[in-house]
Symmetry: none
Subunit: 206 residues, 4 copies
Amino acid sequence: MQDEKLPRREREKLRHRRQMLAAALELFSEKGYHNVSMHEIAERAEFAIGTLYKFFKNKEDLYKALMMEKSEEYHRVLMGVLAEEDDVLTVLEDYIATKARLFTDSLASLRLYFAETRGASFNIKAGLDQDIRKLYDKFVMRLASVLEAGVRKKVFRKIDPYYMALALEGLTNAFLFCWLEDPEQHPYEANVPLIRDMFLKGVLAE
Amino acid sequence: MQDEKLPRREREKLRHRRQMLAAALELFSEKGYHNVSMHEIAERAEFAIGTLYKFFKNKEDLYKALMMEKSEEYHRVLMGVLAEEDDVLTVLEDYIATKARLFTDSLASLRLYFAETRGASFNIKAGLDQDIRKLYDKFVMRLASVLEAGVRKKVFRKIDPYYMALALEGLTNAFLFCWLEDPEQHPYEANVPLIRDMFLKGVLAE
Amino acid sequence: MQDEKLPRREREKLRHRRQMLAAALELFSEKGYHNVSMHEIAERAEFAIGTLYKFFKNKEDLYKALMMEKSEEYHRVLMGVLAEEDDVLTVLEDYIATKARLFTDSLASLRLYFAETRGASFNIKAGLDQDIRKLYDKFVMRLASVLEAGVRKKVFRKIDPYYMALALEGLTNAFLFCWLEDPEQHPYEANVPLIRDMFLKGVLAE
Amino acid sequence: MQDEKLPRREREKLRHRRQMLAAALELFSEKGYHNVSMHEIAERAEFAIGTLYKFFKNKEDLYKALMMEKSEEYHRVLMGVLAEEDDVLTVLEDYIATKARLFTDSLASLRLYFAETRGASFNIKAGLDQDIRKLYDKFVMRLASVLEAGVRKKVFRKIDPYYMALALEGLTNAFLFCWLEDPEQHPYEANVPLIRDMFLKGVLAE
DNA sequence: CATGAATGAGGGTTCATTCAT
DNA sequence: AATGAATGAACCCTCATTCAT
């Protein structure tokens, strides 16, 4: 991620790579993986088609690189939030809010990810789905362990922490998708307290 | 839906249509819309390619027909559950359980739907997304009105019923997806009480 | 051509055949041979596709039947004009005028004929071109023999009558096509005397 | 038209384009637009099908390019003849003879043009017919103005020059088509004086 | 290294024709 | 005799990928 201290050539290469990935993300998220051609990507990135193939060995490879990059960032940020030393409830509130920011920032890649992997549109032949899943699972486990701490401290009832994490994910995602579809009518931020309450009353120890 | 009493010719036509849709669903959900060719569908359905085109004017039309058919059924069944005259809590429990059955039955089409519309892989030009969304919105509104009744009867706390419905959807979907990925380790049915409790404790009046 | 005295069944068949040919002519001349499907013809003629194939063994056969029918009529009428016993100049004038009427009546088939045989759009595999050509050659020979009589009577200069006929054909056709393209601005009938004069006296000043 | 001094790459491109157009002309004029596939053209031109599509965006586009190229040449040559400063009669004789040479050279494209536009076989959707017609009309007007000069100089009788041009076109075309069909028996060149005389003096005995 | 012309497999779609009813 | 559902060869075109310059 850091490219300081690299020889100029290497730095340039990295910049070109990023330009290509950016062009690809734009186009993929506008029109979907299958409706974007490598030529289009090359053109948008202002490189020749051959150059694109110097950086990514084929279209799928380019797609995977794109997704991995975004996933890793997503993962890094949320893991950071969960790593904080505050008390559980604060961490949770932080998490719910941070997720909103990430959603906004990476709307394009999220849509793309859902389109291409959740369903069946493009059976990533190998690797990607696995890799991203692993990252996501790791994250859910982390979330679960945060919640488990809450259980141990009797802040929460004795519920399987994994399912608590699952519930929290489901709850926030539902509100986020709703918000995406009509940001005016269903603001996310205004609903953060509601989300938190619904979740907490559900899992909180009496 | 019943085709009793139709002339034999018409009945045959309907049967053929269903065979084609079934073949298409199988293939689409296995490999994704863009990775299935009309020839493949025709072959799997054991018809000539031309026959396929007699029934559906093009590939997108076939896809839309498929999604509409499934959506309508999904909608019909869940609306039926919500229409029952039992008390709110019973209805909700029924709903959570019925959704599991529907998920199992129409796993393929669900994956397909998520793949092709939730994301950007295939910008359904018009109509389908709208039509299916409308159906879904109708359903969520119905669910909300059931919950609203609960609020009026003071069974639930005073929360916007639409957001309660949203929460319930998010909660159940999260568990369902989890179950889909590993049915052994994360059985859905065994968790129905947990789901219900998490939801209820979250929204129940004290 | 006459179908009087035929059993009713036969008469009906002929009528059906004519309906099909009429539908075909309409469509062919509107859109061209290759842009009309057998289904379209069947539909316009209000018969099932299978019935069409009972009457014409394939698309080309239908086309040939159509062209032969029209050619024969064209031939019969013009031969009739040339057979009259009037003096040469009267016959010629009659011929020039009759051609105009025929053009109007059978505009559709003429366009079609020109489209499909004069050029290369559709190499009639065998037969048609030959048959129609023979008919046309016969007609030109007849025209030539009428003109030859004029030469013998010293009405015309001693020019090869075949080339005179050719010249007359070229002259009239040029005016007819011009008229077809813009009937208002280039009326044919008003120009008949001019055509006759140009043919007879050329354009040179004395 | 000259491609001297272009970078080598550009020159190659032009050569390839010409090879494709040549292959297309050969095939179209042999078998007609609708009976030639893009694959066939590519094969005859010894390029891959994809390359063909790099040069012409679709089959119709290829056809139009072909026709425009030929029309423009035809137009340029004949306009050149009419631009000469000789006296009218010399120009006319030159014109009649030049037309023969052009006919021979571009027999294939002429047949094709007649096949596809004069008739109805292929309704060029827009543009081509217009463009070529305009070129041809321009040419007839030029011919008419040459003839008009003859009228003013009292070389010709007072006849509408446009109709004189039309007559000349009709006359020469008739002899050219006749010649095309049987070059041995109906040589064109040997008949040039006859054509000129018929045009000039008509057929009437004095 | 960058380029972009060339490749050709493969996809969506049409339509002449057949044949069981 | 009439029907029209079914067939499948063949068409136009796209696009991921290669490679000579």
